[in-house]
Amino acid sequence: MTTLPTKTDRKLGLVIDLDTCVGCHACVISCKGWNTQNYGAPLSDMDAYGAEPEGTFLNRVHSFEVTREQAPPMVVHFPKSCLHCDNAPCVTVCPTGASYKRTEDGIVLVNESACIGCGLCAWACPYGAREMDGAEKVMKKCTLCVDRIYNENLPEEDREPACVRTCPAGARHFGDLSDPDSDVSQLVAAREGFDLMPEQGTQPVNKYLPPRARDSLDMPDLASLCDPAPEATGFLGWLDRALEKL
């Protein structure tokens, strides 16, 4: 069993905008590329060109359909990676201390040299956010690009997670969610950001912004917006008067 810090100095995490995510998987592959070259073992692809390819990904996008009573169905793209929970069950379940939550920023990491590949943490995570690497047999998970966000070899502007840097639609935001004045906290407040599965008691740091109302366009008949409507006086008469005013 591994203990969680009683408190962390900051709560670094992601805010993911479900109103804006087009489901393009840019974040998935950017993450794959960065984390194959960095932090710990590369993310492998088993049977890469075969019948049942199975690779390790730290971030995946799922798509859900929402059918509604009086409106057309919606499709929601839902990117999912480790939520860096304050009350992370994946940490407390770890028999070796390999899984841990950092005190300075709250990032949940796996110390691969201490990981025995038992997989208990993946079972404990209610979000399915951890994946056992098929080649290395160690547990892999989102590091919040801990080797980017403090990386002095990167220009300052690039010190953010790879998924955030690459997101074409700007649907992913990174920051300190313990600071109510941070951009991400402001965004969560303004857009009614929510916790994923709060009933699990995991207290996730990452937040999701809900899709805005869809298919609500309700306009009066166009002609009623016009004064006078050409229909009232005949189109040519209207046209003549309108041209006169030009």
């Binding site: 109103d19 075969g50 290395e136 403090y150 990386n151 609500s216 366009l217 309700d218 306009m219 166009l222």
Partner: protein
């Protein structure tokens, strides 16, 4: 608490960053390629690049797996087994080049038209076209004919530019964005970035698409339109806007041909513009009631009243337009059923367009002067924008639908105004400023001009004295008069049939024509392998260049292996498909960030070498030696016009913008600058480009035009009317009788809608459904599904059907469906999706693979659980009983009507687990792929 581990928080990311241009799709984003020990380690977006500003899509980030793909060809190949078998032997480049020369030289000397050279999704068309022109064959084009020529041609003929490379919404200012049936791999990062900007400021996005996936999923409002009816929906919006008077009359008077008087006198000029003695179109001046030249200073042109001459009343274009679209047949209630859109939704959208355009007008305090010399103290804009691509254009009514869309944009005065749709240089460029098509060929001589262009009337068709098409694809014939991009999808079937004439060598580049890029794939494979009685092939010789072991490779006699995009030079040129922004001129390069580790060569360099060996003009010096060392040398030193070459930046001594002598350091300067060059348009020239004197002068300075080219938008297309007049019997050049009625109908000079040819000919009880393909955002054509990372996102092709169809046929999870069209039949797994137009089913495009291709396992789901809808689509329509076979294409441009497909669906018998039809297997010319990957450099 025990002390925490201390991971390395500042690892060395790379030894060096090399900045080049992505090629994982046609978007052309800037990329930073991180190198470690001379190898590619990681790819990310270039923050300085105008196209993507640092972001990068899934394809772009997966470029490393494309570069390392096991499907990469390794050496030139000569076929040793039957065509299609994939049996080859590797040969030397000397043998490969000499073989090609031995085949091509006699053709050039005797009958250059017997070479058909067609290129696919390459971005070097101004180069390959130049080569083909020097060779002297009229038979060259790229892939536009089966992609989006309807969009491009309708845009050019209507307003001098279309979407994507031609222009873009004013993303920073627009307040309402309407997206019609887009292909989500086109302009992909810029559209996503634009949508993100709109979302961040709460602007409304409306998606018009039968399928609510991708961009449509985040649309605030979704219009689940029935395929092929977008034009009718658009014309109904026009009806509503006209009915309410919500149109920008000032804009129409100043910047369009709305006031031009249309000749109403019976005879050969009927429907053409009334012109003065100098040939200028005339308008009615409201002050005098007289017809005067359209550009007479100080007049106030009328839009309603006409002039009477000799007892005939000649009315302005706008009057014809209003009369047509105000007719009750375009009322929302009348179109609702056919479009699958409730009338109340059509009215609401029209009202929202009107509200935003006219109540939320944008003003920029920027004085400017128009081409008439009139000074304006501000720039006024209507912040409603639209975008469309193949979804509306890949129909047999696609050209007219795209015209209708542009008409809608123009009527509300939003084109080239702040908040509206903006052209990207070198556009705007009206049809008159483009070349005409050429096909004059003679043995041993170059072609008499550029292959492709914009015909302005029947006199520009490419027909011989007997009225037969001069091109193998029959482009610019009566079958498809305005086929501005050629008809690549017809080349193989025409060559196989020897119609209009036989060819000898089919030379293809980067076009998977034996597979996902052809309609009627199974039959095309048969045509490529069909033999004469003596055992020779009907298409005698096939040369193909590709970087990968694609399906088409197996059907070639000679394969010239290309490099990957990280191993070669390219230029994304202003002469071609540039990367400009609405407020800037820009172009870019690729350069070899790594050297090839195989015996492969960049195709363009190979082509120059062939050109030199063939002695083609421009490719050899006087002493017979090669004029260009390689493609990089061509990029730097070639001049298309004096001082104007493939790259616009750093010309002359390095300061030249657009114009200037060749600069030997030009490529080095591009590399130093991050792989691109950008030059911003002055503030006073940024809007109203077709009419803005400052823009026109700037464009001349930069070499875009050689003289100012102001023009007005063509709401009414006079070139179309000329073709229509011919169909009515006027003029020397007459269409064949069987095409007259169709040309009369479809060459209407004002936008029209008609049911797609397939819809019109299909019994809705027999084939009740529309079937579409979409290309996933994470793939590009057949390249994506061989990529180890991307194929894990989309690895097979389920057929998505609505809940109603699901229930009706009793589908259960794991079931397969049989999809039958009038032409063929396929099976594929089925999945339920409710966010669909109820009359539509769909699947992913180009994921399916032939067994043995692309270095994938024979049991890969791309081969076993995937299918191409292409098998269901014939390049010809079913026989109508008139003894003729009609093309399954747009009648104006010849664009392949992929999305006209109609089908019926049945549940496949239990136990189905393999996709039908089985297209056989090809031997792989490359070694088997590694089983597992853990790629750390």
């Amino acid at each position: 608490m025990p002390s925490q581990p201390t991971p390395d928080l500042s690892p060395q990311v790379s030894d060096e960053v090399r900045k080049t241009t992505c090629y994982m799709c046609a978007c052309r984003c800037g990329i930073n390629v991180h190198m470690k020990g001379g190898r590619v380690a990681y790819i990310e977006g270039n923050r300085d690049h105008p196209v993507n500003r640092g972001v990068l899509c899934a394809k772009g980030s997966a470029g490393i797996m494309q570069h390392n793909s096991p499907a990469r060809l390794r050496a030139p190949l000569k076929r040793v087994g039957p065509r299609g078998s994939g049996k080859f032997r590797e040969i030397t480049w000397e043998e490969a080049l000499q073989t090609a020369v031995d085949w091509l030289k006699p053709l050039r000397d005797t009958a250059p038209e017997k070479l058909a050279f067609f290129t696919g999704r390459d971005q070097s068309q101004s180069f390959t076209g130049w080569w083909a022109q020097a060779f002297g064959t009229p038979n060259w084009a790229a892939h536009g004919g089966f992609c989006s020529v309807n969009m491009a041609a309708a845009g050019i003929y209507t307003m001098g530019g279309a979407f994507w490379e031609f222009g873009q919404p004013d993303w920073d200012r627009t307040k309402l964005f309407i997206l019609f049936g887009v292909a989500e791999d086109h302009d992909s990062n810029p559209i996503k970035m634009g949508l993100g900007k709109l979302k961040a400021r709460g602007a409304r996005v409306i998606g018009v698409n039968p399928i609510r996936s991708g961009y449509n999923a985040i649309a605030d409002d979704w219009v689940s339109i029935t395929p092929g009816t977008d034009g009718l929906f658009i014309l109904s919006l026009v009806h509503e806007l006209l009915r309410a008077g919500k149109i920008d009359l000032g804009y129409l008077v100043r910047y369009t041909n709305a006031p031009y008087l249309v000749n109403a006198a019976d005879g050969p000029e009927k429907g053409l513009f009334l012109r003065d003695d100098a040939g200028k179109p005339m308008v009615r001046d409201r002050a005098t009631g007289q017809a005067v030249a359209w550009d007479t200073p100080g007049i106030s042109p009328d839009l309603g009243a006409g002039v009477e001459i000799g007892g005939v009343s000649h009315l302005p274009v706008f009057r014809h337009l209003a009369d047509r679209y105000l007719a009750p047949e375009y009322a929302p209630e009348q179109v609702s059923d056919r479009c699958g859109v409730p009338a109340v939704r059509i009215r609401a959208i029209a009202a929202e367009i009107a509200r935003v355009a006219f109540d939320e007008e944008i003003t920029i305090d920027q004085p400017w002067t128009d081409f008439r010399g009139v000074k304006h103290d501000k720039m006024v804009g209507r912040p409603v924008t639209m975008h469309a691509m193949r979804g509306i254009s890949a129909h047999s009514n696609g050209f007219q639908t795209a015209r209708a869309l542009h008409m809608l944009q123009i009527l509300i005065g939003s084109v080239e105004t702040p908040g509206g749709f903006r052209f990207k240089p070198p556009y705007p460029k009206p049809p008159e400023a483009h070349p005409r098509p050429h096909a004059g060929h003679n043995p041993g001589q170059p072609l008499d001009g550029p292959h492709l262009g914009y015909p302005l009337g029947p006199e520009h068709l490419l027909l011989d004295d007997a009225g037969q098409p001069k091109r193998i694809d029959k482009a610019f014939s009566w079958d498809a008069p305005m086929s501005a991009h050629g008809l690549m999808h017809m080349v193989i079937s025409n060559a196989h049939a020897g119609d209009p004439y036989p060819i000898d060598t089919l030379f293809l580049y980067m076009a998977n024509m034996a597979w996902n890029s052809s309609m009627n794939t199974s039959a095309v494979m048969d045509m490529l392998t069909d033999q004469n009685e003596d055992g020779s092939y009907k298409i005698p010789r096939i040369i193909y260049s590709d970087a990968y072991s694609s399906e088409m490779v197996a059907f070639a006699d000679l394969v010239l292996p290309d490099t990957t995009y990280l191993e070669r030079h390219d230029c994304i040129s202003l002469l071609d498909r540039p990367i400009c922004e609405a407020d800037a001129l820009a172009d870019s390069i690729r350069w070899p960030v790594v050297a090839p580790d195989r015996d492969v060569r960049p195709f363009q360099t190979t082509l120059l070498e062939l050109g030199a060996r063939l002695g083609l003009p421009g490719m050899v010096r006087e002493d017979g030696s090669a004029a260009y060392k390689d493609y990089a040398d061509y990029i730097t030193t070639h001049e298309r016009r004096p001082g104007v070459g493939p790259l616009a930046g750093f010309r002359g001594n390095g300061d030249g913008k657009g114009r200037g002598a060749p600069n030997p350091d030009q490529i080095a300067r591009y590399i130093e600058n991050g792989g691109f060059w950008i030059d911003h348009i002055p503030a006073e020239a940024q809007f109203y480009k077709p009419w803005n004197a400052a823009y026109q002068d700037w464009a001349v300075e930069r070499g875009i035009y050689d003289s100012p080219q102001p023009y007005v938008f063509n709401l009414y297309s006079e070139p179309m009317r000329k073709f229509q007049l011919a169909a009515e019997g006027h003029g020397d050049r007459q269409p064949p009788d069987h095409l007259r009625a169709r040309l009369r109908e479809t060459m209407d000079p004002l936008p029209i809608w008609y049911p797609t040819f397939t819809d019109a000919a299909t019994d809705p009880d027999e084939f009740p459904l529309h079937a579409l393909t979409q290309r996933p955002m994470a793939h590009y054509h057949s390249w994506g599904s061989q990529n180890a990372w991307l194929r894990q996102i989309h690895g097979h092709t389920p057929l998505y059907v609505s809940g109603e169809i699901w229930a009706k046929h009793g589908f259960q999870p794991g079931d397969w469906a049989i999809l039958t069209s009038p032409h063929g039949r396929i099976t594929l797994p089925v999945l339920r999706m409710d966010a669909l137009n109820g009359r539509t089913v769909w699947t992913w495009n180009a994921v399916a693979k032939r067994r043995g291709a692309w270095a994938l396992d024979e049991q890969a789901p791309e081969a076993t659980k995937s299918q191409l809808l292409n098998h269901l689509i014939h390049e010809l329509l079913p026989p109508k009983g008139d003894g003729l076979r009609w093309a399954n294409s747009d009648p104006v441009t010849g664009q392949a009507a992929w999305y006209d497909l109609r089908v019926r669906i049945e549940k496949a018998p239990a136990g189905q687990s393999l996709a039908y039809p089985d297209t056989g297997q090809q031997d792989s010319p490359v070694p088997p792929a590694p089983r597992n990957l853990a790629h750390q450099v």
